[in-house]
Structure formats: C-alpha cells, structure tokens
C-alpha cells in the first residue's frame, strides 16, 4: 500500500473543547493545545495519517485530509 501523504489537518476550533484526547493518542506527537486550550498541528510534517485523532475526537473537531 502506498504511503499516505498529509494534505492538511482540518480543525474546527469552534467545536474543539480542548479535552486533549487527540494530543495524547497521537503516536507521532504532532498535535498540541494552544493558549486558548484548542488543538493545533505543531509538527504536521511528522504526521503519518493514521487518523487516530479523527477517530477518537469526541467533538468531531479534527479531520485528516490525505493527498
């Protein structure tokens, strides 16, 4: 299977409640919470597109778009 390449982390900041589940479960430590306590992709280059964050987010706030 071809390696997936990340296009973008689509983050809906209005829906994010900053619970930190995605940050904790990211195997590559890509995500972080910002000053407002909302998630952002601080190291998008490390993303392997496993979509664990997308699957675990209880607020439907993060999506991974693959090229």
């Amino acid at each position: 299977m071809a390696k997936k390449v990340l296009k973008e982390h689509i983050i809906n900041k209005d829906w994010c409640k900053g619970c930190g589940i995605c940050v904790f479960f990211c195997p590559k430590n890509v995500l972080e919470l910002d000053k407002e306590g909302k998630v952002f992709a601080s190291r998008p280059k490390d993303c392997i597109c496993c979509k664990q964050c997308e699957l675990m987010c209880p607020d439907f706030a993060i999506e991974i778009e693959v090229q």
Binding site: D14, W15, K17, G18, C19, G20, I21, F24, F25, L55, M56, C57, P58, D59, F60, A61
Partner: protein, 269 residues
C-alpha cells in the same frame, strides 16, 4: 455517504463536557451505520433522559426523545407498527437499568429486533453526579461522599439471563472494536444489547482519581481484556469485553405476524 452527513451540524458543538465518551459513542454509531450502508430514512433512534439521551438531537435519522427509562417501550411501539425500520436505542446506565430496569429485561425477554446501546459511565452526570446502579462498591459520588456500599449490576449477565439474542461489551478506548460490534448488533435479527464503557471525567473521574479523559481511557485499556484471554487467568479482576452471545432465536415481530395470520385463518372458517 460520509458519516458527517448523518449529523445535524446546526446543533454542534454538542452539550457534552470536554472529553466525554458519549461523543465517541456517537461517532462509533455513525461509522457503523455508514459501514452497513443503511439509508438514514430507515433508521429510528429513540432515547430517554440523561446525558446519553441527548444523542438523538445530533443525528439526522428519525428521532424520538422520550421519557426517562421508557425509551425501549416507545421503541417497541415503533417497531411493532413499522417492522421494516431499523431501531437503535441509546441509553445511559441509569436510564436503562434503574429507571427503565423493567422495560429493559422485558425487551430482552421478548427478543424484539431493537439494538440497545448502553453507554455506561457509572454515574448520573446530567443531574450532578449521583451514584447509579452501575457505580459499584467503594466508588465516590456526590450522593456517596464516603463511598458507595451497593453492589453493581452486570449488564452482560443480566441481558444474557433475560434472553437477549446478542450481548456484547466494549469501551470507548477500543473504538475500532466498538464499530465492529455495533455493526454486528445492528445486523442481528433480535434484541441486541451492547454495553459501552464511556468516560465521565467531570463527575465520575474527578471523584475517583481519574481526573482527565485520558486517565479514564487508560483505565479502560488497563482493566479490560478480550474474552478468553490468558491474561484473565492471571488477573481475574479484569473485565472481559467482546461478543458474549450471538444466537438466533424467534423474533417478536415475526411471531406476532404469525399470530395475526393464525387469528385471521380462524375467523375466516
């Protein structure tokens, strides 16, 4: 159809607390429906009262938000009148087993084709964290400041004994397993019970030394094991998860149709 087409986006962000497991159960359910390819006009979701019952507001199926504990009674009515529809009943632990305890065991006994999803967070979250019949001995709650002394129900054993034809248990941590189990439960012709451990970091977690949602998810990971694993022999305290019962039994609506046919035959003579 993407699973996001099944939600009513205008009601988001949802009312659940940060890190609440109910959002993950909602996602699991939508993914299961997407996987099975059921048309959203053929699904009816019926719920009672509680945090978990708010789930019906967020899905774009036919939805009924009914009275406390009686979701299964309403669902039975819908199923009897329109047996071709797919019925899903999400319930909380208190809704299903305290207030609606009798409806639950009798729905199991009848084996009517409904999927009951019990989101077990071991607490009454919406009303301020009172202990529920699923809290268990030694847990703290706002109505048990010195810990509870009551035994808890075992949903799996209860449903099994009451006669449900599909019984399974999973957790929000094991979301992929949850999606597969929900697919099996919805496909099953008969009463299906799926117990899902869901985290309530706000009320259950804070009072029981599991302060963050991730602590609670790790608790599910560390304290459960697949059915029949060798780890269970070494550590009998672990809770088993997986499919416990998957049998085919006479389904209520089909039997009802047979009775109708029989009665009509007798009157014709």
């Amino acid at each position: 159809m993407a699973f996001k087409d099944y939600i009513r986006e205008r009601f988001f962000p949802h009312i659940w607390c940060p890190g609440c497991g109910h959002g993950m159960v909602l996602k699991g359910m939508l993914k299961a429906v997407e996987k099975l390819g059921i048309d959203k006009n053929n699904i009816v979701m019926v719920s009672g009262i509680g945090c978990s019952a708010r789930i019906t507001g967020y899905v774009d199926f036919h939805t009924l938000h009914t009275i406390h504990g009686r979701a299964l009674a309403f669902a039975t009515g819908v199923k009897i009148s329109r047996p071709e529809l797919c019925l899903i009943v999400p319930m909380g632990d208190g809704d299903a087993l305290a207030i609606g305890g009798n409806h639950f065991i009798h729905a199991c006994r009848r084996n009517i084709d409904i999927t009951a999803v019990i989101m077990n967070n071991r607490i009454y979250g919406m009303t301020g964290g009172q202990y529920s019949p699923l809290s268990g001995i030694g847990k703290y709650a706002s109505t048990a400041p010195y810990s509870t002394i009551e035994n808890k129900f075992d949903i799996v054993k209860l449903a099994e004994t009451a006669g449900a034809s599909f019984v399974a248990r999973t957790t929000t941590y094991h979301i992929r397993e949850m999606i597969d189990i929900l697919c099996m439960a919805i496909s099953n012709k008969g009463f299906s019970v799926v117990e899902i451990f869901s985290q309530c970091p706000t009320y259950f977690g804070r009072k029981n030394e599991l302060k963050t949602p991730t602590d609670m998810l790790n608790y599910f990971k560390d304290n459960t094991t697949p059915i029949g694993s060798k780890v269970k022999e070494a550590n009998p305290e672990l809770i088993e998860r997986g499919v416990f019962i998957n049998s085919s039994m006479p389904e209520y609506c089909e039997e009802y149709d047979k009775i109708v046919a029989k009665a009509k035959k007798n009157t014709e003579v």
